[in-house]
């Protein structure tokens, strides 16, 4: 009986985790969502994208974005339920080094995982893609979902 009670307790805790915590992410409505960008150290901000002149970097970054980022940030980086728009000014006006730093470190308490598991060149490819995006206002209406 004791074992069954313990098992029930475990099951209840798992259900709580499944139902409750999965939605405990910060929404894109939070006005300070881009504040993390300003926390990048100066050394990181000053870093240059070593793949800046690589003509395939943005295309490879687009593929990586579709695989790893679109789920939260939207297929066209326009922002989703869990992640903010990457076409917004605070992102587009950030240096490549800042975006690379943010990708590497994530914003764990707001639900964005660290992406240092992607090798450094792939993170720079992602930065190339993000920097190639036009701001939402400048986008043709037909391209928006």
């Amino acid at each position: 009986m004791k074992t069954i009670s313990f098992t029930s307790l475990i099951c209840s805790l798992i259900c709580c985790a499944l139902l409750g915590m999965g939605n405990a992410q910060t929404t894109a409505k939070d006005s300070s969502i881009y504040a993390e960008l300003s926390k990048a150290p100066k050394k990181a901000v000053a870093r240059h994208n070593p793949l800046e002149s690589d003509p395939e970097a943005a295309a490879a970054g687009a593929k990586l974005f579709g695989l790893h980022c679109a789920e939260c940030h939207g297929e066209m980086a326009e922002g989703g339920k869990k992640g903010p728009s990457l076409r917004a000014d605070p992102v587009q006006q950030s240096t490549p080094g800042t975006l690379f730093w943010l990708l590497t470190n994530g914003v764990v308490r707001r639900g964005m995982p660290v992406w240092s598991k992607l090798p450094e060149p792939q993170r720079w490819q992602l930065v190339s893609y993000i920097k190639s995006l036009r701001p939402a206002a400048a986008q043709p209406a037909a391209a928006l979902p």
Binding site: A17, L18, G22, N23, L64, G111, V114, P119, P121, Q122
Partner: protein
Amino acid sequence: MTFLYRFLFERNLLRLHSILGHPQHSPSLLNRATQSPDDSRSRIRSGIVAVLSFFILLAGNLCRAQESPYIVTYDHYLEEPGSLEVEYFSTFGTQRAGNDFHSYWMEFEYGATAWWTTEVYLDAQTTFSDSTLFTGFRWENRFRVLQREHFINPVLYVEYEQTSGADKILKEVEGHDVAADYADLNADSRQEHDHELETKLILSKTFKGWNIAENTIATKNMTGGDPWEFGYAIGVSRPLALKASAKHCNFCRENFIAGVELYGGLGDRYSFGLHETSHYLAPVVAWNLPSDWTLRLSPGFGLNDNSHRFLLRWGVSREFSGFGGALARLFGDRD
């Protein structure tokens, strides 16, 4: 693809309807007892399709994760928040004395937050010339300690295990675990019931594409007066290519991650060290398919006479992103 989902969904809803709601369309309990094996097989097949359909429908979007190749060692990367990863692993082990075995387990790994991953395991095994049996479950939790990336990244691991003595998945090696412990008949070893608390300190670092991870293990069996037991696991891995190609491809080098694991026991509180412990060296390779699947393979070699001579491990996993949100919507959360 949408058509396929709808087809599977409707087919299984109809089956469920016929079984639960319309007795005239479904056999009674008495009739079921006289059904042919073909009917039973059909019902099992339907059940499997229903479960698969459930996962496919629940996870509208599928994520292609960059999964680590390790089978024993943990690195500091947790499951993405709201994602569920369903994994199946097998271990074939040779025995110096006793029968060889094939153990297998299912893992359901869920990213509760970006700093907490929770996971349930279901273990089973087949010992050749003996029997097949379910050997227990585990509930594992991993907590990321630091918010950002540092020179070394610690993760705390806490697991509760309720297994029988017949458990042979060898997910980790600790204490004085030796090959001879696995030679008992299932009928005998299943009489032993363990309630274990297992803790790990995971330290991990990724540098220039290389991941180096070290796990220190401390385990306490809560059923008896057994002392704390210790173990270790070390892993090193690297993708075959660091840059991604612009094309979607199955065989691109960046989809393959290769590495090696070293793991073993370190004795217990009263006899800490390498005396009467077993140790393994295991190359590992993972193939992250763009079609959402990850395959892993790892031949392991025992490094001393206390170890199994050879362990062959393989696994397949699939990640369902947005699982938490889909589940919440299923239960009425419209946000």
